[in-house]
Amino acid sequence: MSVDTILSFEEAMEKYDPVLGFEVHVELNTKSKMFSSAPNVFGDEPNTNVNEVCLGLPGVLPVLNKKAVESSILIGLALNCKIAEHCTFARKQYFYPDTPKNFQTSQYEDPICYDGWIDIELADGTVFRVEIERAHMEEDAGKLTHMGGSTGRIQGADFSLVDYNRSGVPLVEIVTKPIEGAGSRAPELAKAYVAAIREIVKNLGVSDARMERGNVRCDANVSLRPYGQEKFGTRTETKNVNSLRAVENAVKFEIQRHGAVLDSGVKIIQETRHWHEDTKSTTSGRPKSDADDYRYFPEPDLVPIVTTALWVEQLRSRLPEPPAARRKRLQADWGYTDMEFRDVVNAGLMDEIEETVTAGASAAAARKWWMGEIARRAKLADVDPAALGVSPAVVVEIEKLIASGAINDKLARQVLDGVLDGEGTPAEVVEKRGLAVVSDDGALQSAIDEALAAQPDVADKIRGGKVQAVGAIVGGVMKVTRGQADPGRVRELILATLGVEG
């Protein structure tokens, strides 16, 4: 596979004006599927959440899930869309093993939601309005696993295996209008936009919104044009961009790659690109061409949906507090400074901290753990902190262990490692690793006596009134107890031993 030449991002931005567009697929968290009563559950054994409708067996009829329609309308309302009074489903025909019917049931000319907008706040507080073209209902496809070959990719595979558990899971596809004027902030805007969509659907409660599970998936369209030119350049559509950082990186990479192609006097090919997290680059997928004719036609097995003003207004009244308003409230509740709060938001950890506070931790402790030790470990593991595997309950339990004096901050970090290594709950890790603070004064006393005997000159200094010298003895005791003592208690005991007033 040839490696693409790319410009530096700065050079690409000097010469070209980027135009973006996004298609974000949101999986709804309904109990059952879009058109069948089979369960919508992630992670079960292959082909156990399917029935005859999901498998597209002959003679079956789809029946629309009302909750999925209402969730779709809620998404539209949250994105300031108009809600269609009348809309239909259409068949999008294509032959690919991920869809057993050889068509995807989708919407075509009349999406349920259209003409919306969303204000995106960038890291420095700049607000950028993104116009929403449409949000339509459709169904997810099955999951393919490519076997044989060395890479697990479709190229070179000997055959593929198909699990249809995901087939028919309700999806809402949110499509933006072309986004102009983002300039050098395009990659940042891309990430912020997808983060905002994820936040909105999670806040609405209509999706689990876990990107690592594919609940929110982004296809990013990028094109470049010379500054001052009105006509858009040829775009590419990068698929498989399934983390917030990947969205930012993929947009940045495509801008750099387009820049180099255009500089060399070659035309951009309108095509699908695939994002590769390992190489942080895209490769060519299939070109978009006239062969991409999905032969849409009205779905004869589903009747039109008519939305009344009463129904839509009932749904509107259920809209929760918008995320931007919620942020203002949470910052006030938690007492974070603007800087602290912005760092939390930019790290994508507001929900985790809110859950942790709700579960019983103080706001300060929740921030300390998520922004500190957990974020640090996530960075080392190259995953989003939320995906690391630490639950709010773990943070709360560790904090309780600290508050009760069972462990100190230093030991707590080892407890976290133990939890991440799969050794159980924090209490179990403390037990298994023998991490509890040595609070038995007898055990501490012998360690203190040992330390004092090892440094008699320091002991004399303390007896002579140089109380600050006690630090050297405390250090000795902590070393002997491998950090498992409470330094405050050790200090008290040393002074008592030497008969000195602290």
């Binding site: 032959f95 093993p97 593929s160 198909v162």
Partner: protein, 98 residues
Amino acid sequence: MAAINREQVAHLATLAHIEMSDDELDRMATELAVIVDSVKSVSEAAGDDVPATSHPIPLTNVMRDDVVGHVLTAEEALSGAPDAQDGRFKVPAILEES
């Protein structure tokens, strides 16, 4: 005669993984041509002012509550599959070797 020929039917059969004999291809090409002709005459009758019909009966909002119903077992789901492995449908290599 309508623009559908035997080669197109054979191509469609390949895409849909339906095995068809020579006789069947001949017959299907003829039958499909008749259907395409019939559709054409409907298209001629309906002007631009006639919206596409998605359903012949004027029904709307046929929906069900979001309640989980029956499922098939993996064995049942795979029972009609030409090939299976590890509880999943086994399909031929998707990309042709290049």
